[in-house]
Structure formats: structure tokens, C-alpha cells
């Protein structure tokens, strides 16, 4: 066996704290190693060429690259050795950067650690067997979770690319948060005017199958072949009949249902269509408030519905869809006002959230676009905006910046001036974050043209004084305390993950960070992929994002799906379990423990019952291998012998 070891300097990233020359020297002494060298940037074009040539020149049959994390470049180098004629699994990576040069301070110890890490890889690679991926057909349909702007963009791009799209939206209409906005920064064009056409496209595109008012129940399968169970929640209105005429809403007697779309700015009816441009424009009954459900008598809507669409008996319905890839665009949430007691959040009606103000500004909102404050419907003259209301505040567990508040506050200040020329806006801020194209100019306009007074400092307390609200805070630039008597206070409440983000992640088998936002597989280079192949991310479910960023991610995710669907078959990862039927005693323990039901009984000609792995279903976790008492079922590339070789490399003295 002739193993070649290539040690990467990675500029100074490795060579800075590891004596690479010494490492190479030590590597040459390792049994089975025929060649070892160092290289400045192994991952570079010439670096890979070097590897290919050396393989040929030195007749290497195994290769170890000691460099960064395999999560970074394993794929790159596998391709390299394959090009040089070796099976791509005759390659191992020794992680001497993330796990060594970057975390250890003592050069001698680092060097020793690097040597041992390479020894580990060498021992493993000597145990490696050639593996060959099987091909399997893929189902070229895509599931998009979330009908916000990111989800719709992804759905439309996929559909235009010729894919069948299943779009699942939790609420009764697509549109998401953007549909709630009045105008958008920095162009101040009407939000629904630019979103509306997209919504219509979604509803009319023959390739898009929209499940509104539905949620993901269960996800089974693997890239190329997912089986999705979707729960269509009971609307108590037969949408095939409903024309969206609104007669029922007119007549509905229970008038204090919570208005989710307007974030409770004003009460809604128990039967409702969230907004005029809703897609689909169908009514939904909120059983929490509907008298028919609470009191057991009413039936007014049923009486007045011209098409007899009302059906109080309706039950949730489970539909199944088979797809080959999933785009997650489940969006974001906002913290509740009452999490901010020092601002009187939830206590004083005239302390509202940014999104609520957005609805008040909006012509299709509960006040038809007239700015009036909740308490007495008076037109406010002095409006105070408080940015970072919750954001960048460790004490309530939200250490991060919510990304777009600075900008929408500037927008809202501008719009306020447009609506009420004799009004005065104040903005309390920590920093103005306006890095986007035309963003900083925009925040300046708010101050210079629209006279919004920006105060750098935080608000300590908000309390009522007569009809006014007093905002007490610090001006850190003047180094004084300020008190402003305002009519309306708008809190830029922090962006959070949606409250069901974690449960959805568990169904998808993707990971989320401590704040509940989904983790991309590389923060820079794979921003819309997850570590679960076939599942992609778009929009704010991955972290707070404004509209352009969400839209680009929607398109990016769509592009990713289209590219994997550009082939008819996918290569299955050969790193799956395989049964040695000569050894298997048919105890069936693996069958019971496999999370994917990938193992079945099989009778051999001699009548013996043994286990058999269904290749396309096996995901390669290896639970079977650690369950099997006689080592008959082995996870390829992570077999007992391969792991034992590593253990022995470290332990046997």
C-alpha cells in the first residue's frame, strides 16, 4: 500500500502555529506512507494538479490531505483523486486547521497534534475500500414551505423552470409579512402593489399547487424522494364554493376576534378574509371566537352565504405529496410587546409595535391609512420611535441585531410626515445600521428632508401623563437626559424565529441556532443549503433579512433545486450500511433499531434468514452497526475496522 500525505500550509493559517516541515518528516516515517510533502495552498488549482501528478509519479493508491475541515474541502479533494484515477474513497482528510492550528497556542503541541491527526487519517485510509455510488431516479417536484415573499419567489422560479411546485402556507393567504407593509424602503413604493402581482402569478401558475391554511405534518424520505404529509386545517368554509364576496363578514355578530393579519390593531370578525388582495380570497372561521363554536348557536354566516359554503362540521384533512426537494421559507416572528415592561409594552394602548404602525399607515388597514392612536383615535402630532426594542439586548436573550428596523423606522418617520405635515417624529437609536444600496441616503433624508429628530441613546421608561405619553431617555451625544411628551410610541420590536421554528426543524432534520434560526451549511459559501441534502433555506427563517435579501435567497434556493433536478438520476451516497450475509445470524436487532426502516429480512437459498439493506432508504447513520452483535452489518466508510484502526492509532502504545 502506498499512501501519499499532502500537508497544507494554508498560508499562515496552519504553518503559522504548526511546524509543517516537521509534520511532513514525521509522516514519511509512518508505516504505509510512501510520500509526504507540504504545499502552500493545497486546495488551489496548482495544488490539486500537484496531487494528481504525484499520485501518478509516485504510484500512490491512497491519499491523505492534512488541511482544513473535511466539511470544507473533502468533496474538492475526492474529485481530485478521482481525476487521478483513484476511487474517491481512497482519500482521507486530516483536520489540522479548525481542530488544531487555530485552537492550540503551543507550536510544539500543535505540531505533535497535527502529526497524530495525520497518523489517524493514514491508518483509516489504509482500511478504506473503494465504494461506488448507485444511481436512483428523482422525483422532480419541489415543496416550498411558507408563502411569504421569499417562498413565493422560490416557488415562481422553480415553476418557471418547469418544476411542479407544492406551496404550503400556514395562514389563509400568501403574502407573509411583506403583504402587511405599507411602503418599502428605500424606494417608498407601495408594498402590496409590487407584491400583489407575484401573489396573482402564484395563484395562476399551472405548475404551482397552493395549500393555504395548511401546515407540515410529517416529512419522510431523502433527497429525490420525500413523502410529505400536509395538514389542511379546517376553515369551516368550503373554498370550492366561496366567492370571497364578504357577505358573511358583514353579518358576523362576534366582532372581537383577534386580527392576526393586523396584529390586533383593531378587532376582526370571527369569519374573515385577512385583506382585500388576499390570495386565495376565501373566508375562514376562527373557531376560538365564532359563536357557533363557543355558544353552539348562531349560524348567521351560514344563513347569509349566497353559495352555502359554510360548513361547521369541517375537519382537518391530511393530504400527502411526494417531492424531491424542499425549500424552507417559513419566515420570522416578533417579540410580544409585554416582554418590554419598561416601555409599558402591553400596558399602554398608545405604545405599539412597528408592524402595528405599518398596518395603521396602510390604506387597507383598520384605520384606512389615517394615522390615529389606539387609545382615543386622535391624530398624533408627536411620535417617538424606539429602535432595538428587545434587539441587541442580552438580558432578554436577544443578543443579535434585527437587521431592518433602522430602515423601516426611517421609512415610517418619512411616511408620518407625509400623512401629518405638522407632526414631529423622534427616533431613539443605538446605531443607525443602513448598509444597503441607497439605505444610508434614505436615513439621512428622513432626518434632513423630513426633520425626524434622531437621538442617540436608549429609552429608560415610558409612562402616561394625562393624554400624553412621556418618553424618558438618555441622549448620549449631548450627555443629557431627555423627556419627550409624545402622543404615540412605536417600538421596533425584535425579530425572532417563529414560535414553531424548532418543531419544523425537527421534522426536516435540519439544525437551528440558539435563537431558533436555521443553520446554513456554510455561512459564506453555502448560504441557502442545509446539512440535509435536498433541503434549502430562503428568507428570514435563517436570520433577520429585508425584502431584497429574502427575494435573492428565494431565487438562490430555486436555482439550487433546479441544478440538482437538471439530472434525471442522483448518485446515492455509497456510505451506507452493508450486510455480510455469511456472518449475519439473523437476530433482527438492526431491523428494530433502524430509524428509516431501511433494513428488511431476506431468506437465503439455504433457508437462513439474514438482514438486507434497502440502498435508497438507508441514510447512513450506522445505528445498525453499533447494534449488530456479530459485526455483520457495517456502515461503509465508517466500518468497525476503520474506526478501530483510528482508536488503535491513538491508543495502542
Amino acid at each position: 500500500m502506498r499512501v501519499g500525505v499532502f500537508i497544507c500550509h494554508c498560508g499562515n493559517n496552519i504553518a503559522g502555529t504548526v511546524d509543517v516541515a516537521k509534520v511532513a518528516e514525521a509522516a514519511r516515517m509512518m508505516p504505509g506512507v510512501a510520500f509526504a510533502t507540504t504545499y502552500m495552498y493545497t486546495c488551489s488549482e496548482p495544488g490539486q494538479e500537484e496531487i494528481k501528478e504525484t499520485i501518478k509519479r509516485e504510484k500512490l493508491d491512497r491519499v491523505v490531505v492534512a488541511a482544513c475541515s473535511p466539511r470544507m474541502h473533502e468533496v474538492t479533494f475526492r474529485r481530485t483523486v478521482e481525476k487521478a484515477g483513484l476511487n474517491r474513497y481512497f482519500f482521507e482528510m486530516a483536520n489540522i486547521r479548525e481542530h488544531c492550528s487555530w485552537v492550540g497556542e503551543d507550536k510544539a503541541l500543535n505540531t505533535n497534534k497535527a502529526i497524530e491527526t495525520i497518523k489517524l487519517a493514514v491508518e483509516k485510509v489504509k482500511q478504506n475500500k473503494p465504494l461506488f455510488p448507485a444511481k436512483f431516479k428523482i422525483n422532480k417536484r419541489v415543496l416550498v414551505i411558507g408563502g411569504g415573499v421569499a417562498g413565493m419567489q422560490a416557488a415562481l422560479d422553480c415553476a418557471d423552470g418547469g418544476l411542479d411546485v407544492v406551496l404550503v402556507e400556514k395562514s389563509s393567504s400568501v403574502g407573509g409579512m411583506m403583504a402587511r407593509l405599507d411602503k418599502t424602503f428605500p424606494t417608498v413604493d407601495c408594498s402590496i402593489c409590487i407584491l400583489g402581482p407575484k401573489m396573482v402569478d402564484v395563484s395562476q401558475h399551472e405548475k404551482i399547487n397552493l395549500h393555504a391554511y395548511s401546515e407540515i405534518e410529517e416529512i419522510k424520505g431523502y433527497v429525490g424522494n420525500y413523502q410529505i404529509k400536509i395538514r389542511k386545517k379546517a376553515t369551516y368554509v368550503d373554498w370550492s364554493k366561496c366567492t370571497g364576496c364578504g357577505a358573511c363578514i358583514e353579518k358576523c355578530p362576534s366582532r372581537n376576534a383577534y386580527d392576526y393579519f393586523n396584529f390586533g390593531v383593531a378587532p376582526a370578525r370571527a369569519i374573515n378574509i385577512p385583506f382585500p388582495q388576499a390570495i386565495p380570497k376565501k373566508a375562514t372561521i376562527d373557531a376560538q371566537f365564532c359563536r357557533q363554536f363557543i355558544k353552539g348557536k348562531c349560524g348567521v354566516c351560514a344563513k347569509f352565504c349566497p353559495v352555502g359554503a359554510i360548513n361547521y362540521e369541517m375537519k382537518d384533512e391530511i393530504v400527502t405529496e411526494d417531492v424531491g426537494a424542499i425549500i424552507v421559507a417559513s419566515g420570522y416572528g416578533l417579540i410580544d410587546l409585554d416582554k418590554l415592561p419598561e416601555y409599558g409594552g402591553g400596558r399602554y394602548p398608545d405604545v405599539i409595535s412597528g408592524i402595528q404602525y405599518e398596518r395603521i399607515l396602510n390604506a387597507s388597514g383598520p384605520t384606512s391609512g389615517h394615522i390615529e392612536r389606539p387609545s382615543d383615535h386622535a391624530e398624533p402630532k408627536t411620535i417617538v420611535f424606539v429602535s432595538c426594542a428587545g434587539s441587541r439586548d442580552k438580558s432578554i436573550g436577544i443578543p443579535y441585531c434585527s437587521n431592518f428596523c433602522c430602515m423601516y423606522i426611517a421609512k415610517q418617520a418619512i411616511l408620518t410626515k407625509d400623512h401629518i405635515p405638522d407632526s414631529q417624529s423622534y427616533v431613539f437609536y443605538i446605531d443607525i445600521r443602513s448598509p444597503g444600496k441607497g439605505y444610508d441616503e434614505f436615513t439621512r433624508r428622513a432626518q434632513e428632508e423630513y426633520g425626524a429628530k434622531y437621538i442617540r441613546g436608549r429609552v429608560s421608561r415610558i409612562y402616561p401623563k394625562g393624554k400624553k405619553m412621556v418618553v424618558k431617555g438618555a441622549d448620549t451625544l449631548l450627555g443629557t437626559q431627555v423627556e419627550i411628551e409624545a402622543d404615540l410610541i412605536v417600538l421596533a420590536t425584535a425579530v425572532t424565529a417563529t414560535n414553531d421554528a424548532r418543531t419544523l426543524a425537527e421534522k426536516l432534520h435540519i439544525s437551528y441556532d440558539q435563537n431558533g434560526f436555521y443553520v446554513e451549511s456554510h455561512p459564506k459559501l453555502r448560504p441557502v443549503e442545509t446539512n440535509t441534502s435536498g433541503v434549502f433555506l430562503a428568507g428570514a427563517c435563517q436570520g433577520p433579512k429585508d425584502i431584497p435579501a429574502s427575494v435573492s435567497q428565494g431565487s438562490a434556493a430555486a436555482a439550487k433545486v433546479l441544478s440538482i433536478f437538471s439530472k434525471d438520476t442522483l448518485e446515492s451516497d455509497p456510505q451506507i450500511a452493508r450486510v455480510n450475509t455469511n456472518v449475519c445470524v439473523g437476530c433482527r436487532k438492526c431491523i428494530g433499531t433502524c430509524p428509516f426502516g431501511a433494513i428488511e429480512e431476506q431468506q437465503l437459498r439455504d433457508g437462513r434468514i439474514v438482514a438486507n439493506v434497502i440502498e435508497t432508504v438507508c441514510a447512513g447513520c450506522g445505528i445498525c452497526s453499533s447494534t449488530c452483535p456479530c459485526g455483520a452489518i457495517q456502515l461503509q466508510h465508517f466500518t468497525d475496522n476503520q474506526l478501530l484502526a483510528e482508536v488503535n492509532a491513538l491508543c495502542l502504545t
Binding site: P341, E342, R347, Y463, G466
Partner: protein
């Protein structure tokens, strides 16, 4: 109601400047069937003067008293003074959390403190251990003219992780108790704003400004009287009210009573028994209209009768 017993730590000011607080606390708790035992040889709680110079020392002074209570075999000590309360709770909290600190403190003490004592405010005892229901049962007298703004001050419930009582931003304990004894309570936004605290001498003007804000807010809230839990607040707001008027060119005339005094009055004690007369701003004008509680109850019943049909109508609209 079952006989309750508590170790009661009066603290320095309740023996002197705020003796009326002590009087009212003892009387009110007695009428609620609570027996108070004063620990022998209790000493300074270690508040402001001590902890502003040396934390270990301050903790030791507090812990000395807690150790005494521990030795008495009790696990709770109650006090009316928020300063004592926070001194005790702070010392206990940090000694419990940091083994090193505990050693340091106990090294100074003859009798080590083993962190076995919970300090509670009289307010907390009344609200949680006795409860509004029992508190209400003892009411004999109605004070129709009294409209109180409950003013909690800064430390009775802050910092929350140490004081572990009520809401740090919008406390309601006194509101509930005042409600329970049938006194009109005004919702008041300055419940926990600063009164100027111990700066009365050093920075008089600042204290006057801050206190005057509190009084103004109380007036705006429609109150004609402040109820407090802290004798320092009481001092700044009552004793200095004349001062405030002259510095701020105002004309406040708002009595500032301890919540226990108000409770006592509703229990039928006289102004003298509650030491109302010890205050600067005279509260008599608000109290003199006092009457047996039955009268109020009758009134309310009549009102209710008057209301009935109206309420009915609303019901019909609903359905």
C-alpha cells in the same frame, strides 16, 4: 385564621424617625392574628453607609442578624424596611452563590451564617402568607375620601433576581392590599421611579426635583394621597414637601402614609394609634369622613340595583 408567628426585624429608622411605621405594622399584624418576635441583640442591617464602602463588611453586618435568626431556629425573618430587606437578601444571595465570599464573611463573624434564612417584607407576608381575602375580613371602617397612589420606591422589588417579589416594572402588591381594604386606588405610572433616596442632604435640589415629579404624577393620576412601603421615600415626600414647594415653586399638600397605616385605619384604629399625627402633611381632612364599612356596602348594593337593568340590556345586545 390560624395563629402565625414571625421573627420581626424593626431596623433603626422604625425605632425613631419612622416609629409610626413600626406602630402600624405591629398593630395591623396583631389584628390579623400574627405574633411578632423581635430577635435579641439585633444590630445594624448593613445598608447604604456600609455597602457603599465595603461589601464584605456590609454583608457581615447583615449576616450577623441572619445568624441570630438562624440560631433561634427560624428560617424566615420579616422586616418593614426595604433597606434592611435588600441588605439581608443581598448578603444571603451572594453568600449562597459564592463559597469564597461566604468564607470571607463568616471569617469576620463569631457566629457563622449558614444561609438558612429567607428575608421577607411585611408587604410580601401580607400579600402571600395572609392574603387579600383574610386582610379584607378584618375591615371595619371605610375611608370614602381617600384616593391613594401606591408608591413602591426603588428597592422593595429590585433587582428582581435577588428580591424575588412582585413585578419590577409594574408592582401590584400594594394596589391589591389597598383594594382589599376598600380604598380607592389610582393607577399610577411612577410606582418605582426614584424619590432621590439618601441624597437629601448632599443633593437637596435633585431630591426635591425627583420627589416633586412623583407628587405631580400622583396628582395627575387623580390621587389625593400617596401610600408607601419605604420610610426614606416617606421622608423625602412628606418631610421635604414644604422644601419641594419652595424649591419648585409648587403648592403640594399631599399626605404620604405607610400602607400599614391606611390598613390600620380601615381596621378601626384611631389616627393617633396609627401615628398619622406624626407626619408633616396632615391627612385628617381625608380621614375625617370615615364611617362604618356597612354603609359603603349598602350604598354599593343600591348602586348595583340601579345598574341591573342596564347590564341586562348590554347582555341582549351581545346575543
Amino acid at each position: 385564621m390560624s395563629e402565625k408567628e414571625y421573627i420581626y426585624f424593626p431596623g433603626c429608622s422604625l425605632e425613631a424617625s419612622a416609629i409610626e411605621y413600626d406602630m402600624s405594622v405591629r398593630k395591623v399584624l396583631t389584628s390579623l392574628g400574627v405574633k411578632l418576635i423581635e430577635p435579641d441583640d439585633w444590630s445594624c442591617c448593613g445598608s447604604t453607609p456600609a455597602h457603599s464602602v465595603d461589601h464584605v463588611f456590609a454583608a457581615a453586618v447583615a449576616a450577623r442578624n441572619l445568624a441570630i435568626v438562624e440560631k433561634m431556629g427560624a428560617c424566615t425573618v420579616i422586616t418593614a424596611c426595604p433597606a434592611c430587606l435588600s441588605a439581608f437578601k443581598k448578603a444571603h444571595h451572594r453568600m449562597k452563590k459564592e463559597e469564597g465570599f461566604k468564607k470571607e464573611v463568616n471569617a469576620i463573624l463569631d457566629e457563622p451564617y449558614n444561609c438558612g434564612v429567607t428575608a421577607k417584607s411585611v408587604l410580601q407576608v401580607l400579600l402571600e402568607d395572609i392574603g387579600p381575602k383574610a386582610v379584607a375580613e378584618k375591615v371595619t371602617t371605610d375611608l370614602p375620601d381617600l384616593k391613594v397612589a401606591p408608591y413602591y420606591g426603588c428597592i422593595i422589588n429590585r433587582p428582581p433576581e435577588i428580591m424575588e417579589f412582585d413585578d419590577p416594572e409594574n408592582p401590584l402588591a400594594m394596589d391589591k392590599l389597598m383594594g382589599a381594604v376598600g380604598v380607592k386606588v389610582c393607577d399610577f405610572a411612577f410606582k418605582v421611579e426614584c424619590c432621590g433616596a439618601a441624597f437629601g442632604v448632599a443633593k437637596r435640589k435633585m431630591v426635591n426635583e425627583l420627589s416633586s415629579k412623583v407628587l405631580t404624577m400622583a396628582l395627575d393620576a387623580g390621587a389625593n394621597c400617596l401610600v408607601v412601603t419605604c420610610q426614606l421615600c416617606q421622608q423625602n415626600l412628606d418631610l421635604r414637601q414644604g422644601q419641594i414647594n419652595s424649591t419648585m415653586g409648587a403648592s403640594f399638600n399631599m399626605p404620604v402614609l405607610f400602607f400599614t397605616q391606611v390598613m390600620g385605619l380601615t381596621y378601626g384604629y384611631s389616627s393617633q394609634e396609627m401615628g398619622i399625627d406624626k407626619h408633616n402633611v396632615n391627612a385628617e381632612s381625608l380621614i375625617k369622613s370615615r364611617r362604618p364599612v356597612e354603609e359603603r356596602i349598602k350604598e354599593e348594593q343600591e348602586k348595583a340595583k340601579g345598574k341591573k337593568p342596564k347590564a341586562k340590556k348590554a347582555e341582549e345586545e351581545e346575543s
